[in-house]
């Protein structure tokens, strides 16, 4: 019979272990410290850079592109840049980068099929702020709206619902990770007297599943929700840039559909040293939810007040440097490498799944916690995933699979694959029972 590891939660002991791991360097700051000599500071930074380089060699589990070079932007670290306020209004704080920001926003607006004069948006501190802003736009439209989102949604969505004091209905998902529209319909009908605010996942965090926008709009209509009684936000943290560059998926994200907003992370596919994101919404929603603030000579239309001026420049630089062709090549390469990994795992008898248009390969969770940690895998219950980003080479994937197989045979002898059918479907499961069936 296949082994099933217990769901892994962080124990107190592991927390201490993590903390110990973090304390190779003495970073404590004495309350009465005198200024530290530059040589000491540089030694600490150099040591830290060394560990980062080491970790990066096996950095497989998270959707952050680590393959970038922003050396040309290093002189910008001499300034505090701040885009406080509305990027389209400008600001009386002149060390801003709103001109870069607006160029980046225009590019995303075009990517997602909305005209310049029809959209509003800004560069956020990351996916959570982008989702928060978008869901708030929905709440401003429908103060008594119910928020619907699938159980596979990013943890930020449930946090946002609590923060914003909104009722949140968690909808079931299919095996792929996609929202189950039958369950959505039942939930909608249960609350049919209240407007619907829907958070869609254009790429779920764990499985990279894409909720079907067209099917969801059809479900809303069938459940009696006319266009003036729902608001759809698309959380496209990773795939928001990727899908438009895939021939078979380029029309998935489009403001020609009845959606209200789209968000994407900047540090994921494009790659950026610091977390950032983009949210685009329809300009018609923005009239009621902001106010002029004289002291910054702008309009307070964003969640955060002081906003990073460097992030929009990183994004601008990345897009300009790669160009459309460059981005398309990167997307195709990541997806091809994900298919390669999926095939290698399946061929080796490891249960694995790869959704269409996705670079996230889901597979049996390694039983060895240290192995998962060594490869920086993201794990959830009995599955783990690799997100095949630009810094991940075929050589890294080969090493990973080889070590995974070696570890299994070494640790467990005649190892039987885990049963993960419930998570990835029988067809993708390699356990003795499902392997026989398929």
């Amino acid at each position: 019979m296949a082994l099933t590891p217990p769901p892994h939660t962080t124990t107190e002991e592991e927390q201490r272990h993590n903390n110990n791991n973090r304390c190779h360097m003495n970073l404590a700051i004495s309350p009465n410290c005198t200024g530290e000599p530059q040589a000491n500071l540089s030694a600490v930074i150099n040591h830290y850079l060394h560990t980062l380089n080491h970790f990066n060699l096996r950095n497989l589990g998270y959707p952050t592109n680590q393959n970038f070079n922003y050396d040309a932007l290093a002189p910008l670290l001499q300034f505090h840049l701040n885009n406080a306020g509305d990027p389209f209004v400008g600001s009386s704080f002149r060390l801003n980068s709103t001109s870069f920001e607006v160029s980046v926003l225009d590019w995303f607006a075009n990517l997602w099929d909305i005209q310049k004069n029809k959209y509003w948006g800004y560069v956020t501190t990351g996916g959570t702020e982008a989702n928060l802003h978008a869901i708030l736009v929905g709440r401003e439209q429908f103060p008594d709206g119910v928020l619907y989102t699938s159980e596979d949604s990013h943890y930020s969505i449930f946090k946002i619902a609590r923060l914003c004091r909104m009722q949140c209905v968690k909808v079931r998902t299919l095996i792929s990770g996609e929202i189950d529209c039958a369950d959505l319909k039942a939930s909608l009908l249960h609350h049919k007297d209240r407007p619907a605010i829907i958070n869609l996942n254009i790429g779920t965090t764990m499985k990279g599943a894409i909720d079907d926008i067209d099917l969801i709009i059809k479900t809303l209509e069938e459940s009696g929700f006319s266009r003036d009684r729902f608001y759809i936000h698309c959380d496209a943290a990773l795939f928001g840039i990727m899908l438009p560059f895939l021939k078979t998926a380029s029309k998935i994200i489009s403001f020609k559909k009845a959606i209200g907003s789209v968000s994407v992370s900047g540090h994921k596919f494009l790659g950026c040293p610091i977390p950032c994101g983009v949210v685009i919404t329809r300009s018609e929603y923005m009239n009621s939810s902001s106010r002029d603030v004289e002291i910054i000579g702008s309009r307070d239309a964003t969640i955060t007040g002081s906003r990073c001026g460097h992030a929009p420049i990183f994004l601008w630089y990345a897009i300009k440097k790669k160009g459309s062709i460059g981005i398309q090549n990167e997307v195709e390469n990541c997806i091809a490498n994900a298919r390669y990994l999926h095939n290698r795992l399946s061929d080796a008898g490891i249960g694995a799944m790869l959704n269409e248009h996705s670079n996230i390969v889901v597979f049996e969770r390694p039983l060895d916690h240290q192995f998962s940690r060594r490869w920086n895998l993201a794990c959830q219950e009995n599955i783990a995933h690799v997100v095949v980003m630009q810094h991940i080479t075929i050589q890294m994937l080969d090493s990973f699979v080889t070590e995974f197989l070696h570890k299994r045979s070494f640790s467990y002898g005649s190892f039987q694959p885990l049963c993960i059918a419930e998570k990835v479907g029988a067809a993708n499961c390699s356990c003795s029972m499902h392997n026989l069936i398929s």
Copy 2:
């Protein structure tokens, strides 16, 4: 009779003007762009650096220290660093800087008189997230609590109240900008059946006024609010680092008082290229308001999910490099220079005010909008201010005053000082009427 300029609000025309100002460079990204040659990108960045240097010569109005050097940290731009989750728990994303973050937090905890095992906190994306987190901690303690804050509070507080669906009572201020405890008492009594969540300003944005924590606690007690029925958050965006280093003000911010949280901006006094902040609260509040998130191997206890790994390193580096003596010298120097500016303005017959322990000099708003813009002043109704930060030299202040006086005499001939008594008090006003009285 003294002239009073109309309150200045940004007109449509000025907005377009701002936008035009921003468009010296062609930053547009064509939808079908090929990758841009490095030389072109570098030319844009160099041009932008030139304008930043130009603006920085007259950067007087905002509390952002522009006098820093983080060249030694430039190699960190090669990595995306991410402190997702609780800094004390660690994370399965190994390219993090939580060890730096915890050192920085420990330093602030000590600065504000709370023991290591008694506090929890994190490095935020700026003052707004820090205030949002703190006010949410208050709301978690008292779900039906009423939020009280003075009319001189930062605009983020009113936005947070709306975001969090909390009733917010705006309390009047004294001439200094400090909260009026008589009005606070009346408001508390008006809602005496509901717990109180109080946002205090340890330095208001415009006037740098410090709300009196002890007097507010006394007011709460006198109004029948026992310790288990109120929560106090201290928004110490700028002064949170400064006051502890001033002999006469070092005990103002202290967790030995009945306060629940303190926040400070990292990019203000310490100086940081990107906006960031710190929030410290009592660890006893943190049990109920977070949950474990397996995919990041941490606890979701922060507002944002992906959190900047670079910001804590900037803060750590700044504190380590300056040391306590260095910070104290900078604080004393800024305050001395603020006094110098205040004296120069007063001596020249310009109405001006400087609160105790403050580096924010408030004065008559220049009538010439271009002059204010040239010196990057922050203005509100008929007053403006200079925040004397580390990059502002006596020479800059002298040039500013000289140009201000020249502009006034040149533009208006026999210029009469404005009456700003209502804003800064009769004693600080230089208009013909109040000048005679004083």
